[in-house]
């Protein structure tokens, strides 16, 4: 039992990391069908919002509120100026968002420099669960990621915004006829996805090196999570994170971590072979 507790918590931590970094992409890529290669940089923007706020004496909690606002504003502006022009052409979207990601990386490095940035997370100590020490911050991360997930599900299922968005994704024309402003909904949805990514950036910063390139680490995996879970459904993200995170943690206890990551990717490909629309498609 003693060794099961840290295993389960490690699996939950990785699942939460994947969940929180992928949920924004589930909206932008999964629902809106925009192949957004700048997703990692929205995460970076969130982490650097925390850096900037702590540099002027603000707290982690303030950043947790401010980063989604910053992400939303940047996402909204980018949708209105760039992304709105590429909805009809996925290739253009790839090119535009890839270029965007390079520009964001370099701008951040120009402002903050290449040195890793210092951030202070809450809950620095560890707690003892069933005889094993476990970092308190990771427990907070698990709880927070799950709450964000539930919140997003509720927003999509219960709110007017969620209803309008789902309607305009099913049929933009029909939704427009029924009085839904599709342009506004698209901009809001893209900005909301960017806001969630920025929120993830704040949450991950205390666990990882904060540099202009940190977002790269999350890009491929969040696409995998969304594809395996089922593009087009928010609950699919939980399935995707659960399978990829759970398997990877379980395997890396048995075999070298590099092999474990490769095996999980192979398994994901096998899953997609038999369930091309993902585990929990919409």
């Amino acid at each position: 039992m003693e060794s099961f507790v840290p295993f389960a918590l490690n699996a939950l931590t990785l699942i939460s990391i994947l969940l929180i970094v992928s949920i924004g992409l589930a909206i932008i890529f999964g629902l809106m069908n925009v192949i957004n290669l700048a997703h990692g940089e929205f995460i970076t923007i969130g982490a650097f919002t925390l850096v900037a706020i702590q540099a002027v004496g603000g707290s982690f909690w303030l950043a947790l509120l401010a980063a989604p606002a910053v992400g939303y504003a940047i996402g909204f502006a980018l949708e209105k100026t760039l992304v709105v022009r590429v909805y009809r052409n996925p290739l253009h979207a790839i090119l535009v968002t890839w270029g965007l990601s390079l520009i964001i990386q370099q701008v951040i490095q120009l402002i903050f420099g290449p040195a890793p940035q210092r951030v202070v997370g809450p809950f620095p100590g560890f707690v003892t669960i069933a005889g094993a020490n476990y970092p308190a911050y990771r427990l907070f991360l698990i709880g927070f990621a799950l709450s964000v997930f539930v919140g997003v599900i509720l927003l999509f299922k219960k709110s007017r915004f969620g209803l309008d968005l789902r309607a305009s994704i099913q049929s933009t024309e029909m939704a427009s006829v029924m009085g839904v402003n599709a342009d506004r909904i698209n901009a809001q949805a893209f900005a909301f996805g960017a806001a969630l990514a920025a929120l993830a950036g704040v949450l991950l910063a205390p666990l990882t090196a904060v540099t202009a390139y940190m977002g790269i680490n999350y890009l491929a995996r969040s696409f995998f999570v969304v594809l395996v879970g089922g593009a087009g459904s928010i609950s699919g993200v939980a399935a995707g994170s659960g399978i990829i995170g759970g398997l990877e943690t379980a395997l890396s206890y048995q075999i070298p971590a590099t092999v474990a990551q490769a095996l999980v990717l192979i398994l994901a490909i096998v899953i997609l072979r038999f369930r091309p629309r993902g585990i929990l498609p919409s």
């Binding site: 490690n10 931590t13 205390p206 971590a257």
Partner: protein
């Protein structure tokens, strides 16, 4: 009109003439005559983006500092140094492409730089067959024996072996290696194992994680289960910070040693490096007149509060050693410079340095503990150590 007057035969003839002329120009005369007054061209190749970004800028700055010192003092035998900077993005492909570009397009006289070992392997696959000089300035796993490859960083018998001597005497007889999954940590782990066993100790386990690993939890669980006396970390670049952040949060009691830690990590994150132990050929705290002058010159050029690390100091040494070798050889011709490199000595910030017969620099070995100001306090200075590459004499 031109089409009419230009036949294929003529064109071929012209190209042939040009090629002959070019060949005469490059091969027929000694290089020193070819461009005796033109600038000497150096290539700087390193990871300015990607995993090693945090180390690349300082290495480049130290390179620039050495070049500007030499140019201000009249250049190399009266010739100024020009340089081209290329970014390998910390990838093998980038290192190969950019090494090719520096040699073929820019026609540099020598290439200096590189951080992650995978990039020196890649760059060597271009420079050595082309018989071009490459000077690597980062501590690494050693074991390279090539005439066209020089290194100014520590190799295991200068860094790992003396550290193991001290650690087994003071921390305990067992350790566990956590490293990134590539050549430097894997080969170095073999050196750690051999050194530990030579001291009657043991390497209890080793774990290598992919670049960009976000969760060290499972690895730490295994380390806890093995319960070593101290933990040996060789995680590279910004991943090392991720590893340190999580190591601290897991509440380990074991001493952490990492031969990858230096001022670039400790200035940014003194809270993570305080109490950890490292071994480098150079630390900023080194109290020598040369080092004070070096730090002052660096501060004036790039800002007084900026960190300098051993990789940077080794890059600075590499440029100066190259200058001395060209002056001794009286030419930039690669073979002559290589012969001369073995004979020159530079009064470096870390002390007097020169190359051994295996093309590795004789460098310092300083064991130090990070303090809460981000500097490194010397625990034991093993002095300058001759590099050992078994079976290698060039």
């Amino acid at each position: 009109m031109i089409k009419k007057t230009l036949t294929r035969r003529q064109t071929l003839g012209t190209i042939g003439l040009g090629a002959t002329a070019a060949a005469t120009a490059t091969l027929g005369m000694p290089a020193v005559l070819r461009a005796s007054n033109g600038p000497i061209k150096l290539g700087f190749l390193s990871g300015l983006t990607g995993l090693e970004t945090i180390l690349g800028e300082t290495q480049l700055n130290c390179f620039k500092l050495a070049v500007s010192e030499i140019n201000d003092a009249g250049g190399i035998a009266g010739r100024q140094i020009d340089f081209v900077v290329e970014d390998d993005q910390t990838t093998t492909r980038g290192a190969i492409e950019k090494a090719r570009k520096l040699i073929a397009e820019d026609e540099v006289d020598a290439t200096i730089g590189l951080i992650a070992s995978l990039t020196h392997v890649a760059a060597r696959s271009v420079t050595t067959p082309a018989k071009k000089l490459l000077i690597y300035t980062t501590y690494y796993e050693g074991e390279v024996c090539e005439r066209y490859f020089f290194s100014t960083g520590q190799i295991p018998n200068q860094q790992i072996v003396p550290s193991v001597d001290w650690l087994t005497a003071n921390e305990g007889k067992t350790t566990y290696v956590i490293g990134s999954d590539y050549v430097w940590p894997r080969k170095s782990a073999e050196a750690v194992k051999a050194a530990m066993e030579a001291k009657g100790g043991a390497l209890l386990g080793e774990d290598f994680v992919p670049f960009g690993t976000q969760d060290f939890g499972p690895v730490f669980d295994r380390v806890k289960a093995a319960d070593p006396d101290f933990v040996w970390v060789m995680v590279a670049g910004s991943d090392l910070i991720t590893c340190l952040k999580q190591y601290q949060s897991f509440g380990f009691k074991q001493q952490l040693f990492s031969n990858g830690l230096d001022e670039l990590f400790s200035f940014a994150h003194p809270e993570l490096t305080a109490g950890t132990i490292s071994n480098q050929a150079y630390f900023m705290n080194l109290d020598t007149g040369k080092n004070r002058a070096f730090k002052k010159a660096y501060g004036e050029m790039f800002g007084a509060d900026k960190p300098i690390n051993a990789i940077g100091e080794a890059a600075y040494d590499a440029v100066h050693l190259y200058k001395l070798a060209v002056e001794k050889a009286g030419t930039t011709e690669t073979e002559a410079v290589i012969d001369a490199l073995g004979e020159v000595e530079f009064d470096a910030p870390q002390g007097k340095v020169g190359f051994a017969a295996n093309n590795v620099m004789r460098s310092n070995s300083i064991l130090a503990r990070g303090n809460d100001k981000g500097h490194w306090d010397t625990i034991d200075n093993f002095g300058q150590i001759d590099p050992l590459v078994p079976g290698c004499s060039l």
